[in-house]
Symmetry: C2
Subunit: 374 residues, 2 copies
């Protein structure tokens, strides 16, 4: 897959003058000692080593086609030797080159919520948030930040959302989908209340499954390989969606929007239709679930395009997107610089033409609102 | 949903004179002291109470629309007061009335594989198998049995398969999908070798998830309600399929067939296409997976119709069945007497006409082979 000479996104510029909004750019902390000054003093020593803080991690080692066709800084260029380490370099070599007008930063800390130490996890989140604002968001209008939180301490998470929730540089609340308990549980509700209070969507990102306090990444135990582990990750979303709907989160917080990163979408028809069928027979346990579950799911959840499942017949893609209302629920995700599965613009090649503008631009504007252009 | 006066299955009798084969009839042990004599002497005392042996169970209580329109024995009829407790009554009131020629017995012990005591679990399996043969299979040609095993002791499981594997009354090996580790793991391979040795399909049935040694029934922890728990169960199958394919089970045992009970089918397109996409980038870890994963899945796995997802537009059902080759991979399951989600014949009402004969009769004959008619 060669990089096209002109941006495929640029073919259809919207009325707002935007050609693509990327909701998933994994900006990288290359030197943690830059983050340390932003971490509360008592825990700063845990973060000050260049290689970063002590974090529980799973035993799966990434495999794949290297970094695909990601631009790489030349060894002698004087810039940081990581494709997502320097905001200026990323803007020039990815955003400008591919016609991406705006990118939402998501980093790579998706296991904070399953770290056994809640104070360190919350301190890291706070430090990273300020580091992101100072180094990426304030100097560059093309980057927007996510308020990273560690959900095992909901009180600290709410405080962090309140601390940064009115900052126009921050456009969502971000947490890892790896969790000790499913996200419908009552303990998490103050987090949703805070999201709604500040008009911020909640973003979930895969990655910490099986690490730290996380249960195994499948309901039948730990996988053996990265290949197997990565394939099973959307099951976290199935667990969280089912939990959030059955626990009545969206009856309690009707304005809450949830964005699911990197999980694909083809499992959604199964989930909503099995869910509706069961609801007809089993809703006596959850009288507050007053509508068919599918309507909560389709009203409140959004998905991203990296990686979109690749059916052998592209017709199926259009049909599944029709079922899940992809014309308003699907958001373009670049997943830069993790292109092991392919180029993000190739990923949406088979998307029906009448959905492209929504997926590339309009749906993000609708989900994130005015902040995105502030 | 009233029971139709004439069997809907009877409308299309096949050349073999069969109108429906039900691969999932949950025959019920009402008095465990009947099973006790079949249990090895040393552990017989654990099984001799009428209410049954001590078994770890999850905390979810079944809810639903009662037993739906299941026939119920009258209180004063002198028969066992359970709709699946007496083989003669079940034959007369379910099979004969609904035009079902043959039913495969699956019982209701789907948590044996996650019981902490392997000896008791294996002893129960053995006792139940002999009780089923003596009380249901030998006296009635319309019933076929499953060799129930407890997979946490693969050596005992293989011995049980070898003990009964040439008995024409037994047509498959049955285990709960709840498991301490995913079914691709090497420790389980002797079980698959034994299945292939006797020409028996392997059947997995949901139900024990979250009990005993099982991890939580979602990768993000325990659900709060039966409704939520039941909705999440197909995730076990996603975990097992991914594991069995990536660990090379079907390269090692190319004749192994696996039947997935009660999990629906609409999640399969997601699973196979995400799997294929990942395989292209990540197969360096598993060089023995030489074909796209979808081809192993579609060649080796079979699904059942209870409960089939109910899309709002029946057209989608035809399309999903097309994708998963439902014309040869889908088997009719009555799920008698657990009809909380509806009548099993209503469940297949929207199945395209040209698939009905396969689903009701031919696919079962093809999967189970000559034993079914022996």
């Amino acid at each position: 897959m060669a990089v096209p000479p002109a941006s495929p996104a640029a073919r259809g510029r919207s009325e707002a003058g935007l050609s693509a909004i990327d909701v998933d750019l994994h900006h990288q902390i290359v030197d943690w000692s830059e983050v340390a000054p932003h971490v509360p003093a008592g825990l700063r020593w845990r973060v000050s080593a260049k290689s970063g803080p002590p974090l529980a991690r799973h035993g799966f080692q990434k495999v794949g086609a290297g970094t695909g066709n990601v631009p790489m800084p030349a060894a002698d260029s004087g810039t940081i030797s990581h494709p997502a380490g320097d905001p200026r370099w990323v803007k020039e070599h990815y955003l400008d080159r591919r016609g991406v007008n705006l990118a939402i930063l998501t980093g790579s800390l998706f296991s904070l919520g399953v770290q056994p130490g809640p104070d360190l996890a919350s301190a890291i989140a706070r430090g990273v948030n300020d580091w992101t604002l100072e180094n990426w968001v304030r100097p560059f209008r093309c980057f927007k930040g996510s308020i990273l939180i560690a959900q095992q301490d909901p009180i600290a998470a709410v405080a962090e959302i309140d601390r940064l929730g009115s900052d126009s540089g921050m456009v969502q609340v971000l947490l890892g989908s790896a969790a000790e308990s499913p996200l419908g549980r009552r303990a998490y509700h103050p987090i949703y209340e805070a999201c709604v209070r500040h008009g911020l969507p909640l973003a979930l990102h895969l990655g910490g499954e099986g690490a730290g306090m996380s249960p195994p990444s499948t309901p039948v135990g730990h996988p053996s390989t990265y290949f197997e582990w990565y394939g099973s990750l959307p099951q976290s979303y199935m667990g969280h969606i089912t939990s959030m709907v059955t626990e009545g989160v969206f009856e309690k917080f009707p304005k809450l929007k949830v964005i699911l990163y990197e999980g694909g979408v083809f499992w959604l028809p199964h989930l909503i239709w099995r869910f509706d069928k069961n609801w007809k027979a089993q809703r006596s346990e959850t009288p507050w679930v007053t509508r068919p579950p599918s309507s909560y799911v389709l009203d409140h959840f959004y998905s991203t395009t990296y990686p979109l499942e690749a059916p052998p017949n592209p017709r199926y893609l259009g049909e599944i997107l029709d079922i899940i209302h992809g014309e308003r629920t699907l958001l373009f995700a670049g997943n830069y610089p993790n292109w092991e599965l392919g180029d993000p613009f190739d990923m949406i090649r088979d998307v029906p033409d009448d959905l492209r503008q929504g997926i590339l631009v309009d749906n993000a504007l609708s989900v994130y609102g005015k902040r995105l252009l502030a």
